[in-house]
């Protein structure tokens, strides 16, 4: 439900409460006013009757339909008058009783006391109630209709710039170069919102670019000093008469440097994929890439005594960057070789639907869903960077593929599901 509809409903709800209370107030006020006016008229009649009595008009003339006069004689009594409600037969409708207002009084006129009572029809409370409810209900309906029309106008006119803003924000991408440009509007709040949004997105863009540049440069720049250090060590290694211990130390340093360098390269690759520097390409023959990766690794698998069971369907076309495709398959094969059992096997299946790599191995010590996180190693080996599967996942995400991993009864199974060729 949108804001305007909610406001309208809330408004109507409050209005219904107000109208309810207003109805009660109106009812009470009208009833009081009616009674006051009736009493006033009755009292007026009483005074007139008393005057007429004083003018010695005979009682039978004065005793009209609604008037009763009794001569009480000259014995001293209290004079008073009082109002009361009473029921009397309806003047026209037989057998139906109706509420009346009655004034009864004892008056002293020309030395004699008279008991006078006058009744008059009053407007029934039911009638008042009906009228009040009717009025309130109609007002409420008119108000409701007005509100609906009003909200429609607001949505259409006042909120149009807001809708545009929303759709533009939705289309906004941090990675694209265009800054967010919002339409001009005469509404002050929207103008403020636009200024705020434009500033915020521009800042986010600047920060993002700076971050992107930094992580690329950092992983890049790190390679030069590493290359220098590595070269110096190789020169050092050639110095004659180095002891075994000195040579071993040099070798250990070299290994650490190589590791650092590989780490930098892997992080650089992740950053580049993140920064979408590998544009999606024309469909390439994935089968061919799979086969060439396999050729690269078959010797290594051989050296480890692993049997290969390969099923590659020819001509699997996929719109993937060829560099990334190569890294993807290579990383999977590398893992399958590394986390295998002695004299184990590797099963590789590639078809239109998926790429499946299965191999026996030890159960990973890390929960399966965390295996794809950076620096998660299933078994602590010094040779591994812990970035292989993170890269696989990134590449899959960037290419519209899905990766899932299952470990079941001693077998690792990694599946890369391709985006359906038809879709």
């Amino acid at each position: 439900m949108n804001l305007i509809a909610k406001t309208t409903l809330l408004y109507l709800f409050v209005a219904s409460l107000v109208f309810g209370a207003g109805g009660v107030v109106a009812y009470v006020l009208v009833q009081q006013e009616v009674q006051k006016e009736t009493d006033f008229a009755l009292y007026d009649n009483m005074l007139q009757l008393t005057e007429e009595l004083a003018d010695s008009i005979p009682l039978y003339i004065l005793k009209r339909g609604k008037v009763d006069i009794y001569d009480l004689g000259s014995e001293v009594r209290d004079t008073f008058y009082q109002f009361s409600d009473t029921l009397a037969p309806h003047p026209y409708r037989e057998g139906q009783m109706e509420p009346f207002r009655k004034i009864s009084a004892v008056q002293l006129v020309n030395g004699r006391y008279y008991k006078i009572s006058i009744t008059d029809v009053i407007i029934e409370t039911d009638d008042i109630y009906d009228v009040v409810v009717k009025i309130m209900l109609r007002l409420f309906i008119i108000l409701g209709l007005a509100m609906i029309v009003f909200s429609f106008i607001i949505t259409r006119l006042l909120f149009r710039p807001f809708q545009k803003t929303l759709s533009q924000i939705r289309a906004f991408r941090l990675k694209e170069s265009d800054p967010l440009r919002l339409p001009n509007t005469s509404t002050k709040e929207f103008r403020q919102l636009h200024v705020f949004l434009e500033e915020m997105t521009a800042k986010a863009k600047r920060d993002y670019l700076a971050m992107k540049e930094f992580s690329e440069n950092a992983s890049h720049e790190i390679q030069t000093p590493l290359a220098i250090a590595q070269g110096k060590l190789e020169l050092l290694m050639e110095t004659p008469n180095l002891s075994d211990e000195q040579l071993q130390l040099t070798e250990a340093i070299q290994q650490s440097i190589a590791r650092l360098s590989k780490l930098g390269k892997a992080l650089l690759l992740l950053t580049k994929i993140d920064n979408q520097e590998f544009s999606p390409q024309k469909p390439i023959d994935f089968s061919q890439i799979g086969q060439s990766c396999l050729d690269n690794f078959s010797e290594l698998a051989d050296l480890k005594g692993l049997r290969m069971h390969v099923q590659i369907e020819p001509n699997v076309l996929l719109a993937v960057n060829p560099v990334l495709a190569d890294v993807l398959v290579s990383n999977l094969l590398k893992n399958a070789i590394r986390y295998n059992e002695p004299n184990g096997w590797i099963e590789l299946e590639l078809n239109q639907y998926h790429l499946l790599v299965r191999n026996p191995g030890k159960e990973p010590s890390v929960p399966t869903e965390r295996l794809f996180d950076r620096f998660q190693k299933s078994q602590p080996t010094y040779g591994s960077l812990g970035l292989g599967l993170a890269i696989v996942k990134k590449i899959a995400e960037a290419s519209g593929m899905k990766v899932n991993y299952i470990f079941n009864s001693g077998i690792h199974q990694l599946q890369v599901v391709f985006p359906s060729a038809k879709a």
Binding site: T224, Q230, G231, Q254, K262, L300
Partner: protein, 225 residues
């Protein structure tokens, strides 16, 4: 062999110069585009080692210039970027090979030797080492005149050893030469060991001397003594 190293990183250029000068190579260094241009206009080189990311001009321009001035000179491109584009462009413009930073100096040495062989001898170069004769064109290996049957990797390994004779080579350097980025260290050391074992066995079985010396804890050295 006369080599020009075009590299803006002075320390790196110095490393290369120092390393290559220990073998029979004459090595000069140029630190920027202008200096490299001057040198190319004045002297002839067998091979130019070219960093394509120079601060004052793209190295690819220098490559074009070089191909006009000295078409006979071999070119080995070096880049910190692992960018496929640069590699393809460089090779299209006539570079002989491509190396990504950081690289091992023995690897550089082996590549330079390979380029030199191809350029100067059109590949028909017989490499000789002790009882071994290697025809780098036909990939035939003879031990005391007897042919030796080697696998592709064993042949590559032997060539790498001969190019870097009398130099200590770590298992890591050998592994990266044989498999590039495809291997990670721990496993690859075993693989290197297996290949070395096989190569050694084949050479000695054919009556050759055991040239592959193990340096304990470090790696190997190919030498006659």
């Amino acid at each position: 062999m006369k080599i020009l190293v075009v590299e803006d990183e002075k320390e790196l250029a110095e490393n290369i110069r120092a390393y290559l000068s220990r073998s029979d190579m004459i090595c000069e260094a140029a630190f920027d585009f202008a200096e490299a241009q001057d040198k190319l206009l004045s002297f002839e080189y067998d091979i130019v080692l070219l960093d394509i990311m120079l601060p004052d001009g793209n190295g690819l321009h220098l490559l074009r210039l070089l191909k006009q001035l000295q078409p006979e000179t071999g070119v080995l491109i070096v880049s910190a970027k692992n960018a496929l584009d640069d590699k393809v462009k460089g090779l299209e413009l006539g570079a002989d090979d491509y190396l990504t930073k950081p690289f091992h100096l023995p690897e550089l040495n082996a590549r330079l030797n390979a380029i030199f062989r191809r350029r100067k001898f059109q590949g028909h170069k017989m490499l000789e080492f002790g009882d071994l004769h290697v025809n780098t064109d036909t990939h035939d290996v003879l031990v005391k005149g007897q042919p030796l049957v080697l696998t592709v990797k064993e042949y590559e390994l032997l060539l790498f050893f001969i190019s870097n004779k009398n130099r200590p080579l770590t298992k890591q350097i050998i592994a990266e030469h044989l498999w590039g980025d495809h291997v990670d260290f721990l496993d690859s050391f075993d693989f290197v060991y297996q290949h070395i074992k096989n190569l050694r066995k084949k050479i000695t079985a054919a009556g050759g001397a055991d040239y592959i010396k193990t340096i304990y804890g470090l790696g190997y050295k190919f030498s006659e003594d």
